[in-house]
């Protein structure tokens, strides 16, 4: 088959094109949040003092940083799923969550006596954190990997890592509602490790399944 013959066949294939990527991403995020919510409420649920802790700044900050991570990762993953997009220009936004977290850590260190630092960092729930953030996030990650397959990522591994950060941000936001450890020292340590696990899984999986 020469190229002109191929063009004839392609032009004759007038099936309407598939839904746009933006539409697909919106649907995927809605599904992923719903799925994460189901897993979260079925397994952990919010902590008993959820209503009163809303007023404490450390508790609220956990949502600020995790939702910031999810939002910026969505931006980057979306750009990475489209050929020719200016994804490099979107990358710096990914620094937002780590910068917020670093600032919070500095304030925490200034606010607390050094003797309490290690207790705050280790917290009481690190194993649960490392278990449940990946567990809540794995379903959403699978959904986002399907979106990448539907799209056309020219750097599949990078796109998969961004999808992992997005899934991790969503999962961590739910997990934060359960976890009694509110110190930024705890969040910066264990949430980071847990979210990184999802990012690595995303990169490895996308490199296999999102090639096109």
């Amino acid at each position: 088959m020469d190229t002109n013959e191929l063009i004839k066949a392609l032009a004759a294939d007038t099936q309407p094109r598939e839904p746009s990527l933006s539409t697909t991403w919106r649907g995927a995020v809605a599904m992923a949040v719903a799925l994460a919510a189901i897993v979260f409420f079925a397994t952990l649920g919010p902590r008993p003092d959820f209503a009163t802790s809303i007023e404490t700044i450390r508790f609220l900050f956990k949502f600020v940083v995790t939702i910031t991570l999810a939002g910026t990762a969505l931006l980057v993953a979306h750009a990475l799923s489209r050929p020719g997009s200016a994804w490099r220009r979107a990358m710096p936004y990914l620094a937002a969550a780590p910068v917020l977290l670093a600032l919070a850590v500095i304030f925490e260190l200034l606010a607390l006596p050094p003797a309490t630092w290690s207790a705050r960092l280790i917290g009481t729930n690190s194993v649960l954190c490392l278990t449940f953030i990946p567990l809540i996030g794995i379903g959403p990650l699978a959904i986002f990997l399907m979106v990448l397959r539907h799209g056309a990522p020219t750097s599949p591994a990078l796109a998969g890592a961004a999808a992992g950060l997005l899934a991790g941000g969503i999962a961590a936001a739910f997990y934060a509602a359960h976890c009694p450890d509110d110190s930024p020292l705890f969040v910066a340590t264990w949430y980071t490790i847990a979210v990184s696990i999802l990012a690595v899984i995303g990169a490895v999986a996308a490199n296999r399944i999102a090639r096109w």
Binding site: M1, D2, T3, N4, E5, L6, I7, K8, A9, L10, A11, A12, D13, T14, Q15, P16, R17, E18, P19, S20, L21, S22, S81, R82, P83, G84, G151, A152, T154, R211, W212
Partner: protein
């Protein structure tokens, strides 16, 4: 390639998305000129047939056309796909090629006088299920319309369209995979 050419190419694609088969054929023909320019300069180094790259890129453009945003320039999208397919072709052969964006000079390359060669697409076509293969071959190689193909193969037009769509998708998946 300047802004005006990009606008013309984007206009053709938008018309094609609206269902104009002829505009789509013209879009693909022009896209093949652009990709061929890049493929000729790059593929030769690795013993890769540039025309394989052109065909694989056209298939990818077709399968992934929903990833182009209709309000954006189309050439960056098109070149990104060509570049990915070129790098992927080298990767599959265990080689590495650098294709910098800046290198993608805007070179049109007309079709070469077609020498019949054993292109990868021929192998991908041969692997199709017989029903799909006869439909794809009738429309591409024999140049028949959907209606003519339906009559000659004793199928409905809808069945021909479905077989064509699935056949092309299968070729796109198998292209270059051993």
């Amino acid at each position: 390639m300047n802004g005006k050419d990009d606008q013309e190419l984007a206009r053709l694609m938008r018309t094609a998305i609206a269902g104009d088969e002829r505009a789509y054929g013209e879009f693909l023909r022009r896209a093949s000129f652009l990709v061929r320019g890049l493929a000729r300069r790059k593929a030769g180094q690795g013993g890769i047939d540039p025309e394989d790259i052109v065909q694989e890129t056209l298939l990818a453009i077709h399968m992934k056309r929903h990833t182009w945003r209709t309000d954006e320039p189309i050439t960056p999208w098109l070149y990104a796909i060509a570049r990915y397919k070129l790098i992927d072709a080298f990767r599959r052969r265990g080689r590495h090629v650098e294709v910098e964006i800046g290198e993608i000079a805007e070179i049109f390359a007309a079709p070469e006088p077609e020498t019949v060669s054993d292109r990868e697409i021929g192998r991908a076509l041969a692997m199709l299920a017989p029903g799909q293969r006869s439909v794809v071959a009738a429309i591409s190689v024999d140049g028949r319309s959907i209606g003519e193909t339906a009559r000659s193969l004793n199928m409905t037009e809808t069945a021909v369209r479905v077989a064509l769509h699935r056949g092309l998708a299968a070729i796109a998946r198998r292209f270059g995979r051993d």
